[in-house]
């Protein structure tokens, strides 16, 4: 699907709760080809990244701060968080805005996919053999037909200080 055809504007436009009879709804996204998902209710907004102001001396994972309709939001580069090489310059990326502890954060990912409803039967725990960084942020895995979807635990994703004492 095209990135401009945004699947989610904000959670308010989704009258149904994130969970329904057939399973949980996730906003999906890709990083380095891997499919990830964040529960729909945790996602505030999906947008193309605005101008990001770098924050000197911040942890590596912090891409900077941006202005989201008058709110200052910290942008987290999920690639760096996962220990992946930095995105090449001028490659398009997307921003998924999530809320945690009353603060908004923008998660910078490669690409955003559609909203999927996933059945509980397809859910598995995070494989124990995964890389530490990946295992830390993963809340479990869904077995899709063609690929695997890693559920992102937003709270743990935002726990940076343990990794990088600034």
């Amino acid at each position: 699907m095209s990135e401009n055809n945004l699947p989610v504007k904000s959670n308010k436009s989704l009258p149904a709760a994130g969970d329904n009879a057939s399973g949980r709804e996730f906003v999906t996204m890709y990083i380095e080809g891997q499919l990830f998902g964040i529960p729909v209710l945790q996602v505030q907004d999906v947008l193309e990244p605005l101008k990001i102001t770098r924050v000197p001396l911040s942890p590596r994972e912090v891409a900077g701060s941006l202005n989201l309709r008058g709110r200052i939001v910290t942008a987290i580069d999920v690639r760096t968080r996962l220990g992946l090489p930095p995105r090449e310059e001028n490659v398009k990326c997307m921003s998924v805005v999530v809320e945690s502890g009353g603060e908004f954060y923008s998660l910078i990912v490669d690409q955003v996919g559609e909203v999927m409803t996933l059945a509980a039967a397809e859910f598995e725990k995070t494989p124990a053999t995964l890389d530490d960084r990946w295992r830390e942020i993963s809340d479990g895995v869904y077995r899709l037909q063609e690929s695997l979807l890693i559920v992102i635990d937003v709270k743990r994703l935002l726990r940076l200080e343990e990794l990088t004492a600034a």
């Binding site: 101008k51 102001t53 770098r54 924050v55 000197p56 001396l57 911040s58 942890p59 912090v62 900077g64 701060s65 941006l66 202005n67 008058g70 200052i72 939001v73 910290t74 987290i76 502890g101 603060e103 954060y105 935002l158 940076l160 200080e161 600034a166």
Partner: protein, 897 residues
């Protein structure tokens, strides 16, 4: 009018208005327990507050009314129209008393025995028929026939058996007055019903019984949260306006220009208006000073006249809170150090009475507070010798310093020139804290002093913390904001101009007016593009932090802009270089540089050895509440020790020759009394000669000196004890200033001193290292406001919650307390359920002592309370009992644990 009283009136008027409505509803649904509960609570609160404020007459009436309501609650008494009428009568009596109170600020004379008798009779279930006045309203049908009292009720009473009598509460109010107040002149009684219609137009009529309260109609209460929210929105509007202005400026012949200008005006007015709602007169922060000065002059035998000008000057309540303590401290200092004894003054040719002047006024977006005295001024020589003595600077350095520079040393930690240390000041832990606190809110302190003539402190603080003016600069392609208040000047440096950046061992410096100004490369400080060197052509922003100034090298300087300071995200909060971030007119986010943080960084570069002062500035921001000031010292062993500064009364050096021994324990004569000296390490032996630093802990009459080897520093830090105590006298270890530090348990040493000299320690107001944390749960804001300062003065840290739900939320958030003090009567979850909830879920709060506040304490309630898990029960309006119960409860817990 007394603030407390005004607040009481406002709150009670609100409650009463609500009561009228609820009682009518009650009559219609006599069996609605929620309604009864709510009415009961309201009356109960009124009664409790009366008790607190010492309004016995009001309290009695409320109490009698509450009794009946209590019986309604228990189902012992049925809700009948008669009973409701009686309660309404008591409400009217309360209204009348309130109106008198409002007019005269004193309770009306006389009593309401008759009414109370009726109420009591009803409460006891006796037939109230005996009492005349009750009979008259006994049955609405009889109203018409009933006695003269009922005159103007009559036509109403006819109308309906239920709905009407209560609605005509005002009339009933008159009746009560008529019946109970024979001493009142007749004309005040015979207010005819028509007055009702014009009561608003005639506020001065003085007919209290039916007059709308003027206090309650002039103000409405709005929660601070709401105001804050409004402030944020207004600030956003200002920003948007700024953006529009910026766009508009770039375009010629803009058709929007006129409208934009209007919008701009309106926005400014709105912003000002919103800011005003948060403003409070500075006099609120001064109210305690006259008393302090009075006590001081008695204690010190001085004659001091405290003059306060500009008390009505308003400033943001947030700022007000933060400057309260520094101001008090400085006024104390002036009175104690500044003003001389009457005899000295006469000798110096001054009037016997010294003057301490406090003056506040507005000046260009700032508030200036001036604290001056006509006392002896600062003694340059004494400061100089103290500087040298404390090793803060060498003798030759001091010789080259200007007076202004020397004076700045009084703001250094641990610096006091008071020759004699008194109870009041001279503890050397003051001015530095004052300065830090003021700088924390973006203010500055300036000092002028003439020896023999007096000294003058000028505090300059921003009107509000929300919007500041900032200089926008660029470095390595990134823009930053520097708060204008710290910027002294801008210098353009280039290789060919008068100003040129020079380097000493790669550290940049600048010759500025025959002085060498240290420079900080922002590029390097922020680790931006470090490979690239600062260009020769650059701008230097000269900033002043405390007494030192330095230059920040930036690439470009833009305009100044009004910015709204927003806190940085928690992830970034540990970067001390920034005090916040903001959105500029063009919509981009910039970080706000904290000159304190930059200075701290610079301090690390330039004066690595000078670590003692560093922590001070580097901890100048972040969450103030979570940090505490600690005094670091050495005493036996290698590890530094720390104690909370709030517990230390003074730092002293005692002459060892003056140490005497009593019962083989060292004591020293101190302020006319013997003060025990306790070594930190029991095996420690005092020397015979020289001096020994001690920390003095004082509690009321008693003092104790803790012998230490050396006082290191005062720092402000978040303290987390990571290693539990391994020996008595130590609370545990924590990392402070990068070193493992033992936090000492003052209580242990106090006990040592007190057991030997004073017997068992009764007063535990500082029995332990940390202040006891009290969680106060009460739905009445009045009570919360009343009890919080009371408890704080008694040495507790107080957190308040409006209701149990809020309190339980605190628990979820992991807050910890030492004791819970809770009201019982609250809407939603009451105190019993709250206690049960706290006990049931166990967890952190499961074992906490739980003190219930209530004025409705029957043995049955107490029994119910104990079952629900209350530790103790205290009458709500008894301050003494509350304090002593808290103390007992906490000391029991302490012993048990």
């Amino acid at each position: 009018m007394d603030d407390l009283l005004r607040e009481f009136l406002t709150e009670t008027h609100e409650s009463i208005a609500q009561l009228d409505v609820e009682l009518v509803r009650l009559e219609q649904n006599p069996n609605d327990p929620a309604l009864i509960g709510s009415i009961f609570r309201l009356v109960h609160t009124v009664k409790g507050t009366c008790g607190f404020l010492g309004l016995p007459r009001l309290e009695k009436v409320a109490h009698a009314g509450e009794n009946i309501l209590g019986k309604f609650c228990d189902g012992q008494l049925k809700v009948t129209p008669q009973a409701v009428t009686l309660i309404l009568r008591s409400i009217d009596a309360i209204k009348y008393l309130l109106s008198v109170l409002e007019e005269t600020e004193a309770e009306a004379s006389g009593d309401d025995q008759e009414l109370i008798n009726d109420l009591d009779a009803m409460a006891e279930g006796r037939d109230v028929g005996g009492a005349e006045s009750v009979e008259t309203v006994d049955s609405p049908v009889m109203a018409e026939a009933s006695a003269p009292v009922q005159e103007h009720v009559a036509p109403v009473g006819e109308a309906d058996a239920f709905g009407f009598v209560p609605v005509r509460a005002e009339d009933t109010g008159l009746n009560v007055k008529e019946a109970k107040m024979p001493e009142q002149p007749p004309q005040s009684v015979s207010v005819p019903a028509p007055v009702e219609a014009k009561k608003e137009a005639e506020p001065a009529s003085g007919e209290g019984g039916i007059k709308e309260s003027s206090v309650s109609s002039q103000t409405i209460r709005v929660s601070v949260d709401q105001l804050e929210n409004l402030m944020v929105i207004a600030s956003e509007l200002v920003l948007t306006r700024n953006q529009l202005n910026q766009i508009s400026r770039t375009q010629k012949d803009n058709p929007f220009a006129t409208s934009l200008q209007r919008l701009s005006h309106v926005t400014s007015e709105l912003q000002e208006g919103v800011m005003k709602t948060r403003m409070q007169p500075i006099g609120n922060a001064w109210s305690k000073l006259p008393r302090i000065i009075r006590d001081l002059s008695l204690e010190l035998g001085k004659k001091i006249d405290l003059q306060m000008l500009g008390a009505e000057t308003e400033l943001d309540r947030q700022v007000l809170e933060l400057i309260k303590d520094p101001l008090t401290h400085m006024v104390r200092n002036s009175a104690d150090h500044g003003i001389e004894n009457p005899s000295d003054r006469l000798m110096a040719g001054k009037p016997e009475t010294g003057v301490v002047l406090l003056n506040a006024f507005h000046e260009g977006g700032h508030i200036i507070i001036e604290i001056s005295d006509d006392g002896r001024g600062l003694s340059m020589n004494r400061i100089k010798s103290k500087i040298i003595q404390n090793g803060l600077a060498s003798e030759s350095d001091v010789a080259t310093m200007g007076d202004q520079q020397i004076m700045q040393y009084i703001f250094k930690p641990g610096f006091s020139t008071a020759a004699q240390i008194t109870a009041v000041s001279g503890r050397g832990v003051g001015m530095d804290v004052v300065k830090t606190n003021i700088e924390k809110i973006g203010g500055t302190v300036d000092l002028q002093s003439t020896e023999g003539k007096g000294s003058r402190f000028l505090i300059k603080i921003p009107l509000t913390l929300a919007i500041v003016s900032a200089l926008i600069v660029e470095c390595a392609g990134e823009r930053f904001a520097i708060p204008q208040i710290s910027v002294v000047e801008l210098v353009h440096a280039s290789a060919h101009s008068e100003y040129r950046v020079e380097r000493i061992n790669d550290t940049p410096v600048l010759r500025l007016r025959n002085r060498l100004l240290p420079l900080v490369s922002l590029r390097r400080a922020l680790k931006l593009n470090e490979g690239k060197k600062d260009e020769d052509m650059s701008f230097i922003v000269v900033v002043q932090v405390g007494s030192s100034s330095f230059g920040i090298i930036v690439d470009r300087v833009f305009d100044t802009e009004e910015i709204v300071v927003k806190p940085v995200s928690p992830i970034l909060r540990n970067i001390t270089m920034f005090s916040g971030n903001t959105i500029l007119g063009d919509g981009s986010v910039v970080m706000i540089l904290d000159p304190n943080g930059v200075a701290a960084h610079a301090g690390e570069i330039h004066t690595t050895a000078d670590s003692t002062l560093r922590h001070h500035s580097s901890s100048a921001h972040g969450r103030v509440s979570a940090k505490q000031s600690l005094l670091l010292f050495h005493a036996g062993g290698d590890a530094p020790k720390a104690v909370s500064l709030s517990l230390v009364a003074r730092l002293e050096e005692i002459d060892l020759a003056s140490v005497e021994y009593s019962d083989n324990k060292p004591v020293v004569q101190y302020r006319g009394k013997l003060m025990p000296l306790v070594p930190l390490d029991e095996s420690f032996q005092l020397g015979k000669e020289g001096t020994q630093p001690i920390l003095v802990f004082s509690d009321h009459e008693r003092s104790m000196g803790l012998i230490v080897d050396e006082i290191i520093d005062i720092i402000e830090d978040q303290v987390e004890v990571n290693v539990a105590a391994h020996h008595p006298g130590c609370l545990g270890s924590a990392i402070i200033a990068g070193k493992a530090t033992d936090i000492i348990d003052t209580g242990h040493y106090l006990a040592q001193a007190y057991q030997d000299w004073f017997g068992a320690q009764q007063d535990s107001s500082f029995g332990s290292e940390q202040l006891h944390r009290v969680l106060l749960v009460d739905d009445s804001p009045f009570f919360r406001n009343l009890l919080t300062p009371l408890l704080m003065v008694a040495g507790y840290t107080v957190t308040t919650a409006e209701n149990p739900a809020q309190a339980l939320k605190l628990r979820e958030e992991g807050e910890e307390f030492d004791v819970i003090v809770s009201d019982i009567e609250m809407p939603g979850m009451n105190g019993f359920d709250f206690a049960a909830a706290v006990r049931k879920d166990g967890g952190k709060w499961g074992e906490l002592p739980f003190i219930a506040l209530s004025s409705h304490a029957t043995p049955r309630d107490i029994e119910q309370g104990r079952r629900a898990g209350f530790t103790d029960y205290v009458a709500k309006f008894n301050r003494e009992a509350l304090l002593s119960t808290l103390q007992q409860t906490l000391s029991t817990v302490r012993v048990n644990s």
